[in-house]
């Protein structure tokens, strides 16, 4: 693949995902306004329209306070938009559901449950037989590299291990879309890199749709098919960029790839030009 120029999408109403893929998430004219104590309303999201195709890895990239997490919570059904609708497979989203699995920066594991208990929780809730749920949980824990830690409580794990458990716990109940809210944001640089590699490896195997919120340009380019750039005050989609890099991606190859470097430089330049004083790093 030669050096491809970056093709900025339109400001709104862009279609994302693998070529001609069926849309799985449709966000239509979504706005979110928060009432503040000073009576001056804060517009977190302003008229966002976005379509995500099935099986796509889409990153939402933006400075803090641009509403990127709020957008993810709306898709998750945890937050209702002030106006507009979000749809999952054509049906309006009215609340959370097991078809959309969140992974949070704060891990949000159940501390009173063991690692195994956490991963089994969703399948058991869905009525799976305990023996089957346990087998599934063990398989997933092996996949995220945590064999041998089944009996541990979350408090006994490092941050990176907790996030691995959280990912396994969410994958366990088989969501069609993974909603990842700055999942590696609380981890040190080394752990972060390893988890990115592992996530990519897992994703490249079964190609679940992923909506991934981050403020790291490198992380977005490394993982995604598409990067949705947001700006803040009010939160809007600025640009949508196709990341046309070959898969499976290997970090050591990408780091030497001029295309990869170009994407990063270009996206950082766009943020510079936008005048958002807080640069994504």
């Amino acid at each position: 693949m030669g050096v491809t120029p970056i093709r900025p999408g339109q400001l709104a109403g862009v279609s994302l995902g693998r070529r001609a893929a069926t849309p799985i998430i449709e966000i239509e004219h979504v706005s979110q306004v928060f009432k503040t104590s000073s009576r001056r309303d804060h517009t977190a999201l302003s008229d966002i329209s976005l379509t995500v195709g099935e099986g796509a890895f889409v990153s939402i990239l933006g400075p803090s306070g641009c509403g990127k997490s709020t957008l993810l919570y709306i898709v998750g059904g945890f937050v209702s938009p002030t106006s507009g609708t979000a749809k999952m497979k054509g049906k309006p989203i009215t609340g959370p559901g097991p078809d959309r699995g969140p992974v949070f920066q704060e891990f949000a594991l159940f501390p009173w449950k063991s690692v195994l208990g956490n991963v089994m929780y969703g399948p058991l809730q869905q009525g799976m037989k305990p023996a089957k749920a346990e087998a599934l949980a063990r398989t997933l824990l092996a996949m995220v590299g945590l064999t041998g830690f089944e009996k541990f409580y979350p408090k006994e794990l490092s941050g990176g291990m907790k996030q691995r458990v959280a990912l396994a716990r969410t994958l366990a109940y088989g969501p069609e879309v993974l909603l990842m809210d700055e999942p590696f944001g609380a981890l040190d640089a080394h752990t972060r890199t390893r988890l990115q590699n592992d996530l990519l490896e897992i994703w490249e195997r079964d190609r679940k749709t992923v909506l991934f919120v981050t403020h790291s340009v490198e992380e977005a380019v490394f993982l995604s098919d598409k990067v949705v750039m947001m700006s803040r005050s009010p939160g809007r989609i600025r640009e949508v960029i196709d990341i046309d890099l070959p898969r499976p991606r290997r970090r050591e190859e990408l780091l030497l790839d001029p295309n990869y470097q170009r994407y990063i430089v270009e996206i950082e330049r766009m943020f510079d030009a936008s005048g958002d004083n807080e640069l994504p790093s």
Partner: protein, 258 residues
């Protein structure tokens, strides 16, 4: 503190207290202040007397019932208040009104309505235990991480299931802190209720002895009630630690009874 001294510290403290008591009593030579040895000698007759044992067991039974009912009522209420603003807005002013009132001060009115029997005393214990348990359950439920509840919602847990299966266990360490305070208050209200409504119980023995000038029995009963407090608290602490063995370590109180 070195390893050998640490477990011995409470024993040494008790011995020191008894020694100070003994010396003070010998120095003061007051009839109403028996020495530590005299008081300790008065304990075995109480504990071997059938009548006294029935009294003490009746006290403990009332305390257990009052404590149990208070937990069954207060934990759900506190959790609901912690998760629902409307519930909290309704109950908070009521609780603030009841909070500073000494529960034993309500005893005469309660006696007027319900008599001097078990119901009145159990009700006073119930009131004494409820408030700290409600308060700590409320605080515990309020502090539950939103994202944990969202994770549960995504797995398909209904609001009721989330309260029972996420808020309750997540708030458990805080709830149990409230229960521990409640347990000590149960003991206090138990004795005071028997002081006001004399009929049976450990408090009854104590105040009858006081009326009759049997000061060694009075102090012996104080020691017995105190020892009951320490034992109950220590037993509760063992249960508590086991129940929240998964939780992040919090600071430990140097004295288990507070």
């Amino acid at each position: 503190m070195n390893g050998l001294l640490k477990p011995l510290a409470p024993v040494l403290a008790c011995c020191g207290l008894l020694l100070a008591w003994q010396l003070a009593s010998l120095g003061l030579k007051n009839d109403s202040f028996p020495t530590a040895l005299e008081s300790l000698r008065a304990i075995p007759p109480i504990l071997t007397d059938k009548e006294s044992l029935i009294n003490i067991l009746a006290s403990l039974r009332r305390m257990a019932i009052g404590f149990g009912l208070a937990l069954a009522f207060s934990i759900p209420l506190g959790l609901l208040m912690g998760r629902s603003r409307a519930t909290a807005a309704f109950f908070n002013p009521l609780l603030m009104l009841i909070y500073p009132v000494p529960k034993a001060a309500l005893m005469p009115i309660i006696m007027l309505w319900l008599g001097v029997g078990d119901i009145s005393k159990t009700l006073v214990i119930f009131l004494g235990v409820s408030l700290p348990v409600i308060y700590h359950s409320f605080e515990g439920a309020k502090a539950v991480e939103e994202k944990m509840l969202w994770s549960g919602a995504a797995m398909g847990l209904s609001p009721g299931e989330r309260l029972l299966r996420i808020v309750l266990p997540a708030a458990l360490p805080e709830i149990l802190t409230g229960c521990r305070t409640g347990l000590v208050l149960a003991l206090i209200t138990m004795v005071t209720s028997e002081m006001i409504a004399r009929q049976s119980g450990a408090g009854n023995i104590l105040f009858n002895a006081l009326d009759m000038g049997q000061y060694d029995t009075v102090f012996a009963m104080i020691i017995i009630v105190g020892a009951m407090g320490i034992c109950l608290d220590a037993a509760f602490e063992i249960v508590r630690r086991w129940l929240v063995r998964w939780s992040e370590p919090q600071f430990d109180m140097p004295l288990s009874f507070s």
